[in-house]
């Protein structure tokens, strides 16, 4: 019954949208090229990759599902300690297996706490998420005989990946490891975002009343994405522990969650690359400012936050409209803007 020419046009349009755009491909080619381009900067690059993964995981719930969370660090920290403990006490010796296990542990916590996040207002969500994160910090402090308390978990010995790739002092293998994990997680997240599930999330964020009125089980979708995002955050946390052979209480801190929000604000939410780009800019800023005024870094971060909000995120995006807008649409698949209907016949 439907116009077949129109149907195939729409079908092509949808499939084209999800295809990797040239800019995306360039981004990742460049990302992997950094392995050879900046051999002296492996440590900061690795930190950036981990932060990028962490930020991307928050974007999934903040930018796509609209859940305001100040406690995403809970998943990061839990998995970080898990990865450290299983390595230190020899329960899981292979880092990749430990990584996946840590991710699953974090996802489990995400699943359990997701039900808390569904109810109440924005403030309630903020408080509950923050509360969980801080609680975990207190627990880690309490059991300092296991976790090392304020001194941090030490004496972690990470085995070579697949028995072959040792974590060397220069951080080369560590960085490659993180980058590959980031890429794999990104690909999966990308599939999720372009799937019907991802679309339903955007509808829930936009108008949850209407979403349930068209048959979407809003609660379960939110539980699903929260669990998934928690798992990714956990993987990021485990990566940090594995590549630094250390884990401390500040993984649960408010600072870490707040910095994460800043990263997403800089990079933008809702198009998946925000976390990645934001992380790069944030790390660069941090490096630059820390060199200028190491002690009062917090002041400048605060100032940046205040200015960004006062100026207005939309206005800022408007200033770099051509830049940012083009980047966004280029990243979200070619021809995201409406292709006119004359196209089917007169291509």
């Amino acid at each position: 019954m439907a116009n077949p020419a129109l149907t195939s046009h729409v079908s092509d349009y949808l499939k084209r949208r999800a295809r990797w755009s040239p800019l995306e491909i360039a981004f990742w080619v460049f990302a992997f090229a950094t392995i050879w381009l900046f051999p002296s900067k492996y440590l900061i690059l690795k930190d950036t990759a981990i932060l990028a993964l962490f930020a991307m995981s928050l974007d999934l719930i903040l930018g796509y599902a609209g859940i305001l969370s100040l406690g995403h660090a809970a998943f990061f920290g839990l998995a970080g300690y898990f990865a450290g403990l299983v390595a230190k006490y020899g329960y899981i010796n292979e880092p990749v297996v430990a990584l996946v296990a840590a991710g699953l542990v974090a996802a489990a916590l995400g699943f359990v706490t997701s039900f808390l996040v569904l109810r109440g207002s924005d403030l309630t969500r903020l408080m509950v998420t923050l509360g969980v994160s801080l609680m975990l910090g207190e627990v880690a402090n309490r059991y300092s005989n296991i976790t090392g308390g304020a001194d941090g978990l030490q004496g972690i010995d990470i085995q070579p990946i697949f028995g072959r790739f040792r974590f060397d002092l220069y951080g080369h293998n560590g960085y490659v490891y993180c980058l590959i994990v980031l890429f794999v997680c990104f690909v999966v997240a990308r599939r999720v975002v372009y799937s019907p599930f991802g679309l339903s999330l955007r509808s829930v964020k936009g108008n949850s009343l209407r979403a349930s009125a068209i048959g979407i089980p809003v609660k379960w979708r939110l539980v699903g994405i929260y669990t998934f995002a928690a798992g990714l955050a956990g993987i990021a946390g485990a990566l940090l522990t594995q590549t630094t052979a250390f884990c401390s209480l500040d993984v649960f801190s408010l600072d870490r969650s707040a910095d994460l929000l800043l990263v997403l604000i800089i990079g933008g939410t809702g198009y998946l690359y925000g976390g990645l780009i934001g992380a790069v800019i944030y790390k660069f800023l941090q490096d630059y400012i820390a060199n200028l005024t190491p002690q009062y870094w917090q002041f400048w971060i605060g100032l940046v936050l205040v200015i960004i909000v006062l100026v207005g995120r939309e206005r800022m995006a408007g200033w770099i409209a051509t830049g940012r807008g083009t980047i966004e649409s280029l990243f979200s698949g070619a021809a995201a803007r409406s292709p006119k209907l004359a196209a089917p016949d007169g291509k």
């Binding site: 949808l14 372009y194 108008n207 209407r210 349930s212 068209i214 409406s338």
Partner: protein, 249 residues
């Protein structure tokens, strides 16, 4: 057996009785209109039917099955869909995405997190069919927020229709639609398939009398008069309620 039936449906907000012991029966395939003065509780009634509000007492049955305790999204699955008096749309999505969402959900791929939207051809065909039926082909790639009101209203109904409901509840579909765009809207409603039961809330009497084959009048939350359009039109009590209202105003 009526396709939709309420028994003793009541809703109280503190001391206010918004819905008062309503026993409504809607026959399958009917074009049933629900009218009444402002504040009569029509939208509250729709909210009760769809599960947005929980009744204080009474039961609701869809196709004979008691749905009083089911959640809103489950009622959609069971065959009841609604539109909103004030558009409730996904402003940042496009009509294509919005309709696509509904169809995906219905056909069971809503929770699919791996496949890319658009790869299932059955889904795409149905999406296009609905887009065309509701005259949205020329705007289907535009963000809903920038559409003219008439198109938005069409989309509002398209979303409910895309649920392929047994019962379609339309809450004042023509409200706020400019004169120029009304015709398209009304023609679309007229053209709805005969096997879909429509319960229509409207203020515009022209629409009601040209469209409905049965009319129920709601006053102060209670069912006042219920019958064929000719009977209701002639009923002196109905005239009193409406005319009386005008005299007071």
């Amino acid at each position: 057996m009526p396709i939709l039936q309420t028994t003793g449906l009541e809703k109280r907000f503190g001391g206010i009785v918004a819905t008062n012991n309503v026993n409504l029966s809607v026959e399958k395939g009917a074009r049933h209109a629900l009218i009444g003065p402002n504040g009569a509780g029509k939208t509250t009634f729709i909210n009760l039917l769809t599960g947005v509000l929980k009744p204080s007492s009474g039961r609701i049955a869809l196709e004979g099955k008691d749905i009083t305790d089911t959640s809103p999204h489950q009622r959609v699955r069971l065959g009841m869909a609604r539109t909103f008096q004030i558009n409730q749309l996904f402003l940042d999505l496009t009509p294509l995405e919005s309709v696509g969402l509904v169809v995906s959900e219905r056909l069971g791929s809503g929770a699919d997190w791996w496949r890319v939207v658009g790869t299932k051809s059955a889904v795409t065909e149905e999406i296009v069919e609905i887009i065309e039926r509701f005259h949205l082909s020329d705007v289907m790639f535009d963000r809903v927020a920038v559409l003219p009101y008439g198109k938005q209203r069409l989309l509002e109904i398209a979303l409910a229709f895309a649920c392929r409901p047994q019962v379609l509840l339309l809450d004042e579909p023509a409200a706020g639609v400019p004169e120029a765009e009304r015709h398209e809207l009304l023609a679309t409603i007229e053209a709805l398939p005969k096997d879909v039961t429509v319960l229509l809330i409207e203020h515009d009497m022209d629409i009601v009398f040209s469209f409905a084959d049965r009319i129920s009048v709601l006053v102060n939350g209670a069912l006042f008069v219920d019958g064929a359009p000719e009977e209701v039109a002639k009923d002196p009590r109905v005239k009193a309620v409406y005319l009386g209202e005008e005299l007071d105003a």
